[in-house]
Each structure stands twice: as C-alpha cells, then as structure tokens.
C-alpha cells in the first residue's frame, strides 16, 4: 500500500489563521458550550417570547385597571385589594386548592398500584401495557370531561341505566353539578399523567437492591415500605406536582360538571376575560393563584427534602 495520503479537504495555510471568520470558528470549536447554546438558542428564544414575556405582561396587567374599553396604565394595587376585600375570591381560591388536593391524592392512590404492576409484575408485552396507559394521555381532554358529563347527568348513562335495570325509580340528583363530580372527573382525566412519572421511578430501581433486602430478612411488605416506596418517592412527587398544579386552574371541568356549587377559581378568571370584562382583575387573580401554588409547592418540596435528608 502506498504511503500517499489523500485525505480530502486537508487544512492548510497559515495565512487563514488570522482571519476573523477563522477566529470566530476557533472560539466556537474550543468552547463546546458555546456551540451547544447556539444550537439551543432558537428553542430558548421561542420559549422566552411565548412564555416569559407574556407572563411578565400578565403581571404588569395586574397592577393596572380596566376603564370600560381601555386599560388605565397607572400603577395601582386596587385589584389585589379587591381580592382581599371580597371574601368570595379567597374562599374560591382555597376551595380550588382543596379540590385539587383531593383530586391529586385520589389520582396518586389509584395510579401507584397500576404503575407498580407494570414495573414489577409484567414480564412479556410490557410495551402493550405501556401503550395502553399512555394513549389516554394524548386524547382530547375536552372529550374526556364531556364523557363524564354524559355519564353523570340527570338523564345520563348511570341514571338511565339504573332506572332501566329497575334499581332506582327516580334519577339520582347528586351525581352531577357539584364539587364531588368535579373531583371525580379530574381524577379520571389526569390519571394518565400520574402513572408515567411513578412508573419511571419504579422501573429505575435496581432490582438487586430488592434481592438484597429479601436476603437480609425482609418480608415483601417490609421490603416495599423500606426499599421500594422511598426509592419511588421522586416519581410520586413529580406525579403529584404534575396533577396538582394544572388542576388548580382548571376551567373546563368545573364548567361542564361543576354546576354552581362546583366552580373553581378558573371559572372566575375566565369570566373576567369574558363577560365581566375586567382583564386586570383576571390578571391579578391569576398572579395570586400562581403565587399560592408556588408557595405550596415549594413548602412541600422543602418539607419532603428535609424529611428524606433526615433518613
């Protein structure tokens, strides 16, 4: 084999090394993170423009007031004062948070055994199970809520079914248009969101840890509480946040199945942008909601981190 080298595109020329283009290119080559950030920049830019800037604007709006069709841009805390003055706002806020907590708790409770089943007990065809629980995640939220409206309604599936079976003679009235209906519907609609994070953290657990626990004398129950549960906590917490945060501000579900007693803060916010036509107030309510959620979430995370650190 000949000694000739014909590596195409061989770099040459000392003169080129001083050009600006070359210097810029060397800088990029040398600092890997520059190249990475450059690649990331379109996405980051879009996120900033579509999320950060609007949210910032929303906060700005909360300090302004609605003057019929115009926005009065003088800085004022009037909206926030209104929140504290009218008890209905705070009451509704806490009610929404409470309902979300119930919903989150119910969802997690129902989802955990399912995730556990797939992670530990399924050996063949895991893919099918995973697809089955993932698909509802992607289908129309609106339709899922609407399905419950149809099921729980006065003339709906449950009532008509029970009547035609002869179990009851008059339709049950307590099924729909109350907070319970909202919590139930939310738990169903968000179930799929809860399973995946829990499943992921369970799947990641090193199986040899469980074998070690058994070898050291644990019964299955002990092993679960002492090894599996603590190691799956990050997934549980993630699932909890993933369900709790969006449901606090939910609009569709209380509107469709909540009636008058089941309304949540989302309904009031929407009306500020609709009939009530008080955008700044709506903005202020949103800001307060986000603050409340953030405070709760942060407290929760700090508390759990401390508790786990102690162990």
């Amino acid at each position: 084999m000949s000694d000739q080298t014909h590596a195409a595109g061989t770099y040459s020329g000392a003169e080129e090394q001083t050009s600006f283009g070359f210097k810029l290119r060397s800088l990029f080559l040398k600092h890997e993170w520059l190249r990475g950030y450059l690649l990331l920049s379109p996405t980051l830019l879009v996120m900033i423009c579509l999320m950060c800037v609007p949210l910032f604007m929303l906060v700005a709006y909360s300090f302004w007031t609605q003057n019929y069709l115009d926005i009065d841009k003088t800085f004022t805390l009037a909206n926030y004062e209104a929140y504290f003055q009218k008890p209905i706002y705070a009451a509704l806020m806490f009610k929404s948070i409470r309902m979300s907590l119930y919903c989150t708790f119910a969802t997690l409770l129902l989802a955990y055994p399912m995730a556990y089943f797939i992670a530990f007990k399924v050996t063949k065809n895991k893919l099918i199970w995973l697809i089955l629980i993932t698909v509802p995640f992607w289908t129309s939220y609106l339709l899922r809520v609407f399905a419950w409206k149809v099921i729980l309604g006065f003339n709906g599936v449950i009532n008509s079914g029970l009547i035609s079976l002869g179990i009851i003679s008059d339709p049950l009235e307590f099924l729909l248009y109350n907070p319970t209906a909202v919590v139930l519907t939310l738990a169903h609609a968000w179930a799929a969101f809860a399973i995946l994070p829990i499943y992921v953290s369970l799947e990641k657990i090193d199986r040899s840890l469980l074998e070690a626990a058994t070898d050291l004398g644990d019964t299955p129950k002990e092993r679960f509480w002492r090894v599996t549960w603590p190691l799956s906590l990050p997934g549980v917490i993630a699932a909890g946040l993933l369900v709790f945060i969006p449901t606090v501000g939910d609009y569709v579900t209380p509107k469709l199945v909540g009636g008058t007693t089941g309304i949540m803060i989302g309904n009031i916010v929407q009306s500020q942008f609709g009939k009530a036509n008080n955008w700044p107030m709506g903005a202020a309510l949103s800001v307060i909601s986000m603050l409340m959620i953030t405070i709760l979430v942060v407290t929760f995370i700090v508390a759990t981190t401390r508790a786990r650190a102690k162990n």
Partner: protein, 366 residues
C-alpha cells in the same frame, strides 16, 4: 528520512473546569511509529487522543501534525482518522458502505472506491463480507471493519482508542500481533491508547506512560522495563520489589545504599547520574534475583530468607521469600531450566538465599 516530530505536542493542557485532565504535556511522535499512550483510567490518555483527533480543543498549547498547526481545525478536516472504543459501526449501513463511508469526497469514481473497499476487506481478512449487515458481525469483525474504514482514507496518523478492550483474551492477543504487522505493512503512524501494559509492550515502538494528566516517561518497552525513571513507572510496568533506603555514598563505580531488609546494597545501574545522598527506593525485578537452597559463597549482594510461598507455572516458578527487616515478602521469578519432577513445597521453614547483580539494582525517586 522519517520525521521525528511528525506529531508535535507542545505545552498542551486541557482543563475541564478545575480538573486538569491533561497538564502541560510536550513530546514528539515519529513518523511511521507505533506509539502507545499507557496509563490507568483518568490519566488523560483518551483526552489527549481526542485532542489529536479534534474532538477536544486544547485549553493551552498547540498540536502540530506534519508541521501543520491544528488549532481551530475541526475533526473532519484533519489528516487523522480514529478507531473508536465502541467501534461505531453505522448500524444502518452494510459492511461495504461502512468502509466506503469516508470516501464520498475523495473524488474517486464509484468503481475505484468499490475496488479499494474490496482490497481493504482482503487486508483485514474478511473477503466477501461487503453485503453483510452491521448487526450480523462479531466483536472482532467489527473491530477490523472499523480499522478498514479508517485506513482506506490513507490518513497520516491513525488513532486507536482502546480498540481491543472488548475482545476476549485469545482474540485480543491475536489482534495485537495482527495490528502490529498491519502497521508495519502500511507504514502509517499509529497512536494507540490502552491501560493494559502487556498490550502496550507487545505492540509499541515507544510508550508514553501517563498519570494524572502528566507524562511520566517515554521510552521503548525494553527501556521502560529495565530503566524506569520513577517509582510509578516501575510499578506500573510489570512487577517489581521496592526497598526503602538511604544513599550512603559511593564505592568505586557503585552507589551504596543502606536498605531495609537487604542491608547494604551496591548499585551500578544508574552510573554517574546516581544521587550521592538522601532517601531513595531500591528496586529489583523478580527475575533479577537468583534463588538458592544452599548458602552461596559470596560476601555482598546476598540475603538470607525463609520461603513463604511458591507457585509452579510450568515454564517458570514464582517464589515469595520473607526476609528480616521487611514486612512484605520478596517476589522472585525463576525459569525452570532444569526438569522439575516436583513443585517446591513452601512450609515457611525452608531457608533460601537470594543473590543479585549490582547492575540490576535500580535506584528510583518517588
């Protein structure tokens, strides 16, 4: 005339945050050489290799290949090619397309490229494998295809990142010899990274022993083994016995060291460059000791001990001798030149005597 500084690494460092993966290294690699970078994990050898390839840029210093500075030159424009540790065979292309991958810009006609691919397959002893899919290959076959893929481009330098690590022992030993023969055949400069010192010793013209980002010593395998410059190198390459001691001066040509265990020791190994005072480590390879079951008739360079353990390895035997003043037993290796009908039984009572040559006594600083 083969260029001595075909690859020239000058004051090169690579920092990752506060970690100095490569710390101010300077050395040359000769054209046509089989050069190995040897060291434990984390010593910086792979980082250095990747800087030659262009996947990392030096934080400080410069690298030159065939006289050309490589600063700012991206990997696809460098006259080097690399064989990756994982082989990186493209799973979506068959063997032929894998080998031909880098020839797209060569300006050669398709027929010519195909011909060269077939020649390559002959060279790596896989003729007719062109149509095979990537998933149908064994580890050894992948390794050779990765090699072919790189060599077909006739690079000035071939870089190899621990390419034999994933192979089983017999295959590895066979590949070591094949690689060496191949390198001699094509005459390309090879830069080979490994943590296996036997592997480096088998294949290389010269070895750079690295540790913690620095180069400890660069020499031929023989020199590294017989004349290690620092304790770490001596310890890394092969086995060696260390005896701590203090230099007492000179007697004629020999340096005198008072050691633990061996007593007064004479060394002519370092010649005139030997230190004349201070603490030093005396080092002797196991095969440099002569072991005898009768007391030999010498005054110097002898020590008495008790045989603690013996291992019969067929062609040679290893003995472990406990001597006074030293906790660890001395490791001794001895060829079984005479026919042994029985392996030696070690019962911790057998007296043995060790003798050695003054020439074999190495003096090493830490």
């Amino acid at each position: 005339m083969a260029r001595e500084d075909y690859i020239s690494i000058r004051n090169t460092s690579k920092h990752f945050g506060s970690v100095k993966a490569v710390d101010d290294i300077t050395f040359n690699i000769q054209q046509g050489e089989f050069f190995s970078l040897l060291g434990a994990s984390g010593c910086g050898k792979t980082t250095l290799l990747r800087m030659l390839a262009g996947f990392e840029q030096p934080t400080l210093g410069n690298i030159y290949i065939d006289g050309q500075p490589q600063a700012g030159v991206p990997p696809h424009l460098r006259p080097v090619n690399m064989v990756f540790q994982s082989y990186a065979i493209f799973p979506h292309l068959n063997v032929h397309k894998n080998i031909a991958y880098g020839m797209r810009k060569s300006g050669l006609s398709k027929a010519e490229v195909d011909k060269q691919v077939d020649e390559m397959l002959e060279l790596i002893k896989l003729p007719g494998y062109g149509k095979r899919g990537a998933h149908q290959l064994s580890g050894g076959q992948r390794q050779r295809i990765a090699l072919a893929r790189a060599l077909i481009k006739r690079p000035k330098v071939l870089l190899l990142d621990e390419p034999l690590g994933a192979l089983d022992k017999k295959l590895r030993e066979q590949m070591q010899l094949e690689l060496r023969a191949l390198q001699r055949d094509v005459g390309i400069t090879f830069v080979f990274v490994t943590h296996d010192q036997e592997e480096a010793m088998t294949m290389s013209d010269r070895i750079a022993v690295m540790s913690m980002g620095k180069v400890l010593q660069i020499d031929s395998p023989t020199t590294l083994y017989e004349i290690p410059r620092v304790k770490e190198v001596a310890d890394f390459i092969g086995t060696i016995n260390f005896f701590e001691g203090e230099v007492k001066g000179k007697e004629g040509k020999a340096t005198v060291v008072e050691t633990e265990g061996l007593g007064k020791v004479f060394s002519t190994a370092s010649g005139d460059s030997a230190p004349t005072s201070g603490k030093i480590s005396v080092a002797l390879r196991p095969e440099k000791f002569n072991i005898s079951f009768q007391q030999p008739n010498v005054q110097n360079n002898v020590v008495e001990g008790v045989l603690q353990a013996a291992a019969y390895l067929g062609d040679r035997s290893h003995y472990y001798v406990k001597i006074n003043g030293r906790e660890a037993p001395v490791a001794v290796a001895s060829q079984n030149a005479q026919r042994q009908m029985q392996a030696v039984e070690a019962d911790n009572k057998q007296k043995v005597w060790l003798t050695w040559d003054e020439d074999s006594v190495l003096l090493l600083q830490s």
